[in-house]
């Protein structure tokens, strides 16, 4: 528990790192901040073309169905892959100054989280333009789902960033893992499309319930099922705790390994 107190003491460092990251992210590029929106929009365009024009998904308003899942997925994937280098990238600082090392992955995940919040502006614009019914009551559950995903992403980033210090290949392995996970999460297809015998695998994927909850709230205009929320919450907290423990064990030798 001491780590929470220390992280609270160092909250300003987290804030400063987030500012720096958000400001520096598109520094020097012509479109600058606009890249935050251009990236997911083009991703949407490509996926939408493939899955509604070529593969002809029969899901209504497929672009919306897809985008509602794609934006949270982008955040999770960035936390896992780019987040894995968050300690490595600040090696110089880790070797020279003391601060709770957890600050680094937490700051990276938080700045990606803020980025996702910006993208939700487009998500809402799209919902309104498409004429989808908005359920105000269900919207109250959105911050909860976001918080659960945030905790989950921090847990994953703690694990991957700590291991990457010792095993640099992980960064590249995670690129593959992230792609595999994306197609093993119902993002471009509904969970119901998965054959019964494979559904068991999906129970272990923490993002399945998170994405389902986002879709319930924003696409179906429903309050997410309590089982969905509970499963997401339990898996999120579990990974967060595992992340803290793994990171706590591995951080002691960071300065020597970097």
């Amino acid at each position: 528990m001491a780590v929470f107190k220390e992280l609270f003491d160092y909250r300003q460092m987290i804030v400063t790192l987030i500012h720096k990251d958000l400001r520096g992210r598109y520094k020097g590029s012509v479109f600058g901040f606009l890249w935050t929106f251009i990236n997911p929009l083009f991703q949407l365009l490509i996926y939408n073309f493939v899955f509604s024009t070529i593969l002809k998904s029969n899901i209504e308003k497929f672009y919306l169905y897809l985008f509602i899942a794609l934006v949270p997925w982008g955040f999770f994937s960035a936390s896992m892959t780019t987040g894995s280098t968050s300690v490595l990238a600040q090696g110089g600082m880790v070797k020279k100054i003391y601060f709770p090392r957890e600050v680094l992955p937490i700051a990276y995940v938080t700045s990606s989280f803020v980025n996702m919040l910006y993208c939700f502006v487009i998500v809402f614009a799209m919902i309104i333009v498409s004429g989808t019914r908005i359920n105000i009551l269900a919207l109250f559950y959105l911050p909860i789902v976001m918080a659960v995903e945030y905790i989950l992403a921090i847990g994953i980033a703690l694990i991957t960033s700590a291991i990457t210090v010792y095993f640099r290949d992980l960064e590249h392995i995670l690129g593959i893992v992230s792609m595999a996970l994306m197609f093993l999460t119902p993002i471009v297809y509904p969970l119901e499309a998965v054959p019964q015998e494979y559904q068991g695998i999906y129970d272990f994927n923490p993002m399945v319930s998170v994405i389902a909850a986002y879709r319930d709230i924003l696409y179906n205009g429903e309050i997410p099922k309590i089982e969905t929320l509970a499963r997401a919450f339990v898996l999120g907290v579990l990974l967060f705790v595992v992340g803290l423990i793994v990171f706590g064990l591995l951080k002691r030798h960071f300065a020597e390994e970097l």
């Binding site: 720096k20 601060f99 002691r252």
Partner: protein, 249 residues
């Protein structure tokens, strides 16, 4: 007096890879390339300091002084033994570590202070003192990459000394900057020491240690060869150094 630094029987080993096989191919082809030897850098160090005391660490390069400081500031952890530090620890191990070249002096003050665990409000309260101490008024809004190394050092020192630490660890930095600023830093160290801050100073300037420290610890090959009143320790140390170069040891 309350003991704020308690170092007990600390040992620290480093793995020294003779030729580290990095890739899978290398690992498979040259199995014994990952051979490493374990070098013991600290072989059972104990020391303590009370609030408001200053202690000096001396010794030749590679004797373990800097490693000991890194353990005290928790950048690294000992393999055995224990280190207890009471209160906020601020350290100046390397100049301007954590500075961002493209950010202005002012932004770097905030950045650096946050790395020492200060909130924005706490830094707001200290910013004028920090700027005044650094004497870099007209350069505050320039990016620090345009600073000279002396200016860099002033800024780093000004921040570290103003974070209201209970313990300040300083590694060989008093030698940078012009004479006037050095004197100013040194006087500031004396001032914060009289306010009850504990100092640990690594220095090759024995005169500085004699002037400010209650005790000096001479480290040799990972053990404390001698400690006590700085003048007495330094006399022996100088004798050792002189003999070394006469070839008598």
């Amino acid at each position: 007096m309350e003991t704020v630094i308690q170092v007990t029987d600390v040992e620290k080993n480093f793995k020294v890879f003779l030729d580290k096989a990095q890739s899978l191919k290398e690992r498979l082809l040259f199995k014994n390339r990952s051979r490493h030897e374990v070098r013991q850098v600290l072989k059972g160090i104990s020391l303590q300091a009370a609030a408001g005391e200053a202690i000096g660490l001396i010794g030749r390069n590679g004797c373990g002084k800097s490693t000991l400081l890194k353990l005290m500031t928790k950048i690294m952890y000992p393999d055995s033994g224990s280190i207890e530090m009471k209160g906020r620890v601020s350290s100046l191990l390397e100049l301007g570590a954590g500075f961002h070249p493209d950010m202005s002096g002012r932004e770097n003050i905030y950045m650096n202070a946050s790395i020492f665990g200060l909130t924005k409000r706490e830094t707001d309260r200290r910013i004028q003192t920090i700027i005044d101490f650094s004497e870099l008024w007209e350069f505050m809004d320039n990016p620090v990459r345009t600073y000279s190394s002396g200016m860099y050092m002033r800024l780093a020192f000004a921040v570290a000394i103003n974070v209201d630490a209970d313990i300040l660890l300083i590694d060989e930095i008093l030698g940078v900057g012009d004479a006037a600023f050095q004197t100013k830093c040194f006087n500031k160290l004396k001032e914060i020491k009289s306010n009850g801050v504990t100092l640990v100073i690594v220095s090759h300037s024995l005169g500085q240690i004699e002037e400010i420290c209650e005790r000096s610890y001479w480290l040799r090959d990972g053990i404390i060869e001698k400690f006590g009143k700085p003048e007495e320790v330094h006399e022996k140390y100088n004798e050792y150094i002189n003999n070394l170069y006469k070839g008598e040891i």
